[in-house]
């Protein structure tokens, strides 16, 4: 539980007089005094329903965490749901690449509030050692993250620690998705290098209309080669293709 005294759970006491001299009214407390928020947060933190967005090696370790040996049920987070409508904790386990990014964004958007995100493994946190043309360099480019769990893949204990951290965070009432993102995502749209604020609606949003992104069409075979400006044999430039 949180160290903040204002968030600590119930103040208990007794109000009823003894039934008879020497005979206490009940064996427990008669009343609880707390804030509704705290009660709700306490309930939320102990009944997380995770949606495992598992893509790679981390998903195999996630299977270990929910299996009998490590047994995530001890932390109240074992009801694994594969529908975003039924889950409130998104565990992104594994590398997310550019192709999967719109899917992840959509899954997150479909989850009902309140919702939290754990980024499991270094690939989900920062792209890990995949620093190349098709890998999202950290899912916080797309969605807000509450807890980052390092490791490639993290040990089950490490993920459990992440879940405990998240529980404490829920108790404190702090939510990552209420923060404004300060990160800028460098990405190319067409031939123009751009920087887009992370997890804004401008990036990866379904049905997005803005932006100069118009060349979903593949250049026909060989055309990419012909359209090069430089010496076609040993050009140092990547084939830019033709704008359609």
């Amino acid at each position: 539980m949180s160290k903040n005294p204002s968030l600590s759970l119930p103040i208990a006491g007794k109000i009823a007089p003894p039934l008879a001299p020497g005979v206490p009214s009940t064996s427990g407390s008669d009343f609880l005094m707390t804030k509704l928020d705290v009660l709700v947060q306490w309930a939320q933190s102990n009944s997380l329903w995770p949606l495992p967005f598992g893509t790679a090696c981390c998903a195999i370790e996630f299977m270990s965490v929910v299996s009998s040996h490590y047994d995530l049920a001890r932390f109240g987070a074992e009801v694994v749901r594969f529908s975003p409508r039924q889950a409130d904790l998104l565990i992104v386990a594994g590398t997310v690449n550019d192709k999967l990014a719109p899917v992840l964004k959509k899954m997150y958007d479909q989850m009902a509030d309140p919702k939290w995100v754990i980024s499991m493994g270094v690939c989900a946190c920062t792209g890990g050692f995949y620093r190349a043309y098709h890998v999202v360099q950290g899912i916080d480019e797309i969605i807000p993250v509450d807890v980052y769990v390092a490791g490639g893949p993290p040990t089950p204990e490490n993920l459990m620690h992440g879940i405990i951290e998240l529980q404490q965070k829920i108790m404190s009432g702090e939510l990552a998705r209420q923060r404004e993102s300060k990160t800028l995502v460098p990405i190319r749209v067409g031939e123009n290098p751009l920087s887009i604020p992370a997890y804004s609606d401008g990036i990866m949003a379904p049905g997005r209309t803005a932006g100069p992104h118009e060349m979903t069409q593949m250049p026909p075979i060989g055309e990419a080669e012909h359209s090069r400006k430089a010496d076609p044999e040993n050009s140092a430039e990547p084939a830019p293709g033709k704008r359609s």
């Binding site: 893509t55 790679a56 090696c57 998903a59 195999i60 370790e61 299977m63 270990s64 299996s67 009998s68 040996h69 594969f82 594994g94 590398t95 690449n97 550019d98 192709k99 999967l100 719109p102 899917v103 959509k106 690939c123 050692f129 995949y130 620093r131 190349a132 043309y133 098709h134 890998v135 893949p153 040990t155 460098p186 190319r188 749209v189 067409g190 031939e191 751009l194 990866m204 949003a205 379904p206 049905g207 932006g211 992104h213 060349m215 979903t216 593949m218 075979i221 060989g222 990419a224 080669e225 076609p232 044999e233 040993n234 050009s235 140092a236 430039e237 990547p238 084939a239 830019p240 293709g241």
Partner: protein, 575 residues
């Protein structure tokens, strides 16, 4: 000694009509025999190679495309032929590999598509077009496969800047017109297009199939992969030879040791170094434990997908036990990064033999429990028998290898047919089934786990002593006593750490039996400290390519069961 074609196929090629158009290259002994063909004759030669009984290359394994832009010296491309396509073939009848090389110019490189000869070529050609920009004339569906449609340029070309990313939106994902594939008329109530994946528990978060269903029956389907394409091949070009091993471990993350060992073995062959007996034995034990782990997670996850949750817990418990052994060996549970070129990163623990042996009864018990629950279970048999059937001819045409090929009645197992790393001295059987359905694949995997345990038992019963690593200190770090006390030791240490291993110029196709088929590494070295090109032959790539054809005519629920038994691992499918 050099790698040459066997006399019948070589003479058949040369003495018949191809005398001028086919060149037999001389390759070092460790490599596979190679012929060079002009692109105009490719289709004709391919037909001959498949059909003539003296060649009979019935299995299409891989296309390794190489951009030779930055190769210099003796490896420089001749006459501006910048690109090079290496088709890798195998003959199940004659147990022989073959590489067919086609050289292509820098401008508008294009070859005829080989789909009419080997159906398996379909997705391999799409991959080459996607990443290397080589066209395939006559290909029916030549569009991007691994990268998204918003992508521009061809990422594996040497002049593509590795960090260049492109914005992908939902419109850039699979766009398919399934109605065109079928003559079932549009009907608002019964006929619909169903999107299956990528975020679906049965598709492991990374596979996608768009289906057109008539009621519950699938009438058309198109698969898409690439949702886990994380640029392994591009990344490996900027890392030293040993730094590639962690990437290899993440190819098939259900059985990471097999990948790392397979890669290390390929590089060792190029270097011409030999791993001591102890290292080889440890690798076999770890490979076979990995195979068991892989089959367990395949069977467990497959049964979860079709509704039998309990088995998953049974199947996962032995995995935890094997994780403990791996953790004792190298400190990591899953992606071990334990292999090194020249051996392993450190010696196995003192109680390795007893520990390995003590795991066997535990695995036997849990596998037995799964078998008791499932093998004669009426529900499981109804779900698995007669669904996802692949005939022997189809399995070969689609390029299947591993348990899926053996479940269709072809007994090709690299460990048996082309033994490597000490497998020739071991006594084990290769289970084969003739039915080719999901049940056959399940049974083959169950039996393979037993055979793997037999192998482990044999190896640990005479586990050799001595060093675990090669003593070639140009490759392996010398022991610390030597580094601190001898000049040579210090120099070797310094050079290995700072410059990395120098693999001599050359090319190899090295292959081993991965958990779900032939895992091949096509490696080109230019003599610098970095690999010039690494192309992995992922065993599940042809399996998933065939999946869209296998499911047609079946029910949606059968498609789920079939996907599970094929054991598609996205890490190596997409790399």
């Amino acid at each position: 000694m050099s790698a040459t074609l066997t006399v019948p196929s070589a003479s058949a090629l040369l003495e018949r009509k191809f005398a001028e158009r086919v060149t037999i290259e001389s390759r070092p002994e460790y490599d596979v025999p190679t012929i060079r063909v002009e692109s105009e004759s490719l289709l004709e030669v391919a037909r001959f190679l498949r059909d003539d009984p003296s060649t009979a290359f019935d299995l299409f394994l891989d296309i390794a495309a190489i951009d030779r832009l930055k190769l210099t010296g003796s490896m420089a491309p001749r006459a501006g032929l910048r690109f090079c396509l290496n088709y890798l073939l195998y003959s199940t009848k004659r147990n022989e590999h073959l590489r067919v090389r086609v050289e292509l110019p820098a401008v508008s490189p294009s070859v005829p598509s080989l789909i009419p000869v080997w159906a398996a070529a379909n997705w391999f050609e799409r991959e080459v077009w996607d990443l290397m920009g080589i066209g395939f004339a006559g290909h029916p569906n030549l569009k991007r496969l691994l990268t998204h449609n918003g992508f521009f340029g061809h990422a594996l070309r040497k002049d593509y800047e590795a960090g260049q990313r492109w914005l992908c939106t939902e419109e850039d994902l699979l766009q398919t017109d399934l109605a065109a594939q079928t003559d079932v008329p549009e009907d608002v109530f019964e006929t619909m297009t169903l999107n299956f994946g990528p975020s679906h528990p049965a598709t492991h978060g990374t596979l996608r199939i768009a289906m057109r269903v008539d009621g519950e029956r699938i009438v058309a389907a198109e698969g898409e992969c690439g949702y886990l394409h994380r640029c392994f091949e591009k990344m490996s070009e900027t890392h030293t030879w040993n730094q590639v091993i962690p990437y290899c471990d993440r190819l098939n993350y259900c059985s990471p040791m097999i990948n790392g060992n397979g890669y290390a073995r390929a590089v060792e062959t190029m270097l011409g170094i030999e791993v001591p007996a102890r290292g080889k034995a440890a690798r076999i034990v770890l490979d076979e434990f990995s195979r068991i782990m892989d089959h367990l997670v395949c069977i467990g996850a497959n049964l979860v997908d079709i509704g039998a949750l309990t088995n998953f817990w049974y199947a996962f418990q032995p995995r935890e036990e094997i994780y403990s052994l791996l953790e004792a060996c190298c400190g990591a549970r899953l992606t071990a990064s334990y292999s090194r070129i020249g051996g392993l990163s450190n010696d196995v623990p003192d109680n390795f033999v007893e520990w390995s042996r003590s795991l066997l009864p535990k695995i036997t018990e849990k596998v037995g429990e799964v078998g008791t629950l499932i093998t004669k279970n009426r529900i499981a048999m109804k779900r698995l028998r007669g669904t996802g059937v692949v005939s022997k001819a189809d399995a070969l045409a689609w390029g299947f290898t591993g348990p899926c090929l053996r479940a269709s009645g072809v007994g090709y197992d690299v460990r048996k047919d082309k033994p490597y790393g000490g497998y020739d001295a071991l006594d084990f059987d290769v289970p084969i089934m003739a039915d080719g359905d999901n049940y056959a694949r399940y049974l083959v995997r169950m039996e393979e786990m037993k055979q793997s345990m037999r192998i482990i038992e044999q190896v640990v019963s005479r586990f050799p002593g001595g060093p675990i690593n090669s003593d070639d200190y140009r490759v392996v770090l010398p022991p610390k006593e030597m580094v601190y006390n001898e000049m040579e030791g210090l120099i070797y240490h310094f050079k290995t750490v700072f410059e990395g291993i120098k693999v001599p110029e050359g090319e190899i196709y090295s292959y081993c039996e991965g958990a779900n088929g032939e895992l091949g590494f096509s490696i080109v070295s230019d003599g610098s400290g970095f690999p010039y090109r690494i192309k992995v032959r992922p065993p599940c790539f042809p399996l998933f390519a065939a999946y869209e054809k296998m499911v047609i005519g079946g029910m949606v629920s059968d498609a789920v069961a079939t996907l599970g038994t094929l054991n598609i691992i996205a890490g190596e499918l997409d790399r």
